[in-house]
């Protein structure tokens, strides 16, 4: 199977909904028997407060670099066909999709695991921010995944440079992630 890196990454401008069908069509391929998707939608309440809408902003060029890096990292752990990632910016009303991931693979196990990895990494390391707007105020949210990753993001680079999502460093155990984008092994640890 060809291991060409077919990735579609979209950081969408304000008032541009995510075209879910387009992303799914993008990853569809005759040799891939499975497509897994993740859709993140905005909730109507947070700790009992009514959420009117969410407002997103991004450090766009860095966000795109980070997502590319995450895609690369996912490909080094799983046998994947295509990857499509879209994230909205600006106001997103309750119930709408703010982030969408679609990944294809020959068999389902690869894409199911990779899909979880990609959304977890997006939440941990991609510079995108969301403000929740309530009836009586607003607050910048903080992802717990980022808080846990923070120390690691600030570590001096080793030989791989300070990419947002560093390439995996091969170790005795084989797959082992380093840097902002950790690998499959860590995910498995978390799931145990």
């Amino acid at each position: 199977m060809s291991d060409e890196e077919r990735n579609l990454i979209e950081i969408l401008e304000e008032n541009t909904p995510i075209d879910i069908n387009k992303l799914i069509n993008y990853v569809q391929a005759p040799h891939c028997g499975a497509i897994a998707t993740f859709s993140g939608t905005t909730r109507d309440t947070f700790e009992g407060k009514t959420v009117l809408e969410l407002r997103y902003e991004a450090y766009v060029p860095m966000a795109i670099r980070c997502i590319k890096s995450i895609c690369m990292s996912a490909r080094s752990s799983w046998d994947l066909g295509s990857i499509a990632v879209a994230h909205r910016l600006g106001p997103v009303s309750v119930g709408e999709t703010s982030v969408f991931v679609a990944i294809s693979s020959v068999h389902r196990a690869d894409t199911l695991d990779a899909c979880k990895f990609v959304i977890d990494e997006i939440k941990a390391s991609v510079p995108i921010w969301k403000k929740e707007v309530y009836t009586n105020g607003e607050v910048w949210k903080e992802n717990s995944e980022f808080v846990e990753r923070r120390e690691e993001l600030q570590k001096p680079s080793s030989d791989n440079g300070n990419e947002c999502c560093r390439k995996k460093v091969s170790t005795d155990e084989g797959h082992r992630g380093r840097g902002c984008c950790t690998g499959k092994v860590k995910i498995n640890d978390e799931m145990v």
Binding site: G40, Y56, E57, A58, Y59, P61, M62, A63, R65, H87, S98, V99, I119, I122, K123, S125, V126, P127, I128, W129, K130, K131, W140, K141, E142, N143, F146, V147, R150, L153, Q154, K155, P156, S157, G161, N162, E163, C164, C180
Partner: protein, 135 residues
């Protein structure tokens, strides 16, 4: 048209006159000229003034950092050899409210996460990254 030709001629080199006439949109030419006039002389002046002892970087503030400072970006002059940590200290002098997020933020240098020990170079882009919340 003759004014525009002179501007582009300077930009592209004097031997490109015949190429210039292929541009139909005077808007594009106008934009190029204004960029030249606004940025370049000022930049040269500042660099002359500073000599080799300082570097100038661009600082970006996002989300909560922007709310705290009230600006989304600024130019910052620091002495040559300064680290990202030094830059942050200097920023906090200008915007003391940034102290609020100091213990939970990270820095990015030229679109990559960076340790605070990294030395900044002239024209680098340093971003203040408050806790992210994408998804």
């Amino acid at each position: 048209m003759s004014e525009n030709s002179a501007g582009i001629g300077d930009l592209l080199g004097s031997s490109r006159t015949s190429f210039i006439y292929q541009f139909k949109s005077s808007d594009i030419i106008g934009t190029w000229q204004s960029m030249e006039m606004e940025n370049m002389p000022e930049k040269f002046d500042r660099e002359e003034e500073k000599g080799n002892n300082s570097v100038e970087i661009k600082v970006l503030f996002f989300a909560r950092a922007r709310d705290l400072t009230g600006v989304s970006e600024m130019q910052l002059a620091v002495s040559a050899g300064s680290t990202a940590h030094d830059c942050l200290n200097k920023l906090i002098l200008t915007y003391p409210s940034l102290e609020e997020i100091r213990s939970c933020m990270v820095l990015a240098l030229n679109e990559e996460y960076t340790p605070e020990s990294a030395v900044v170079k002239n024209r680098d882009e340093l971003a203040i990254i408050p806790p992210i919340s994408g998804g």
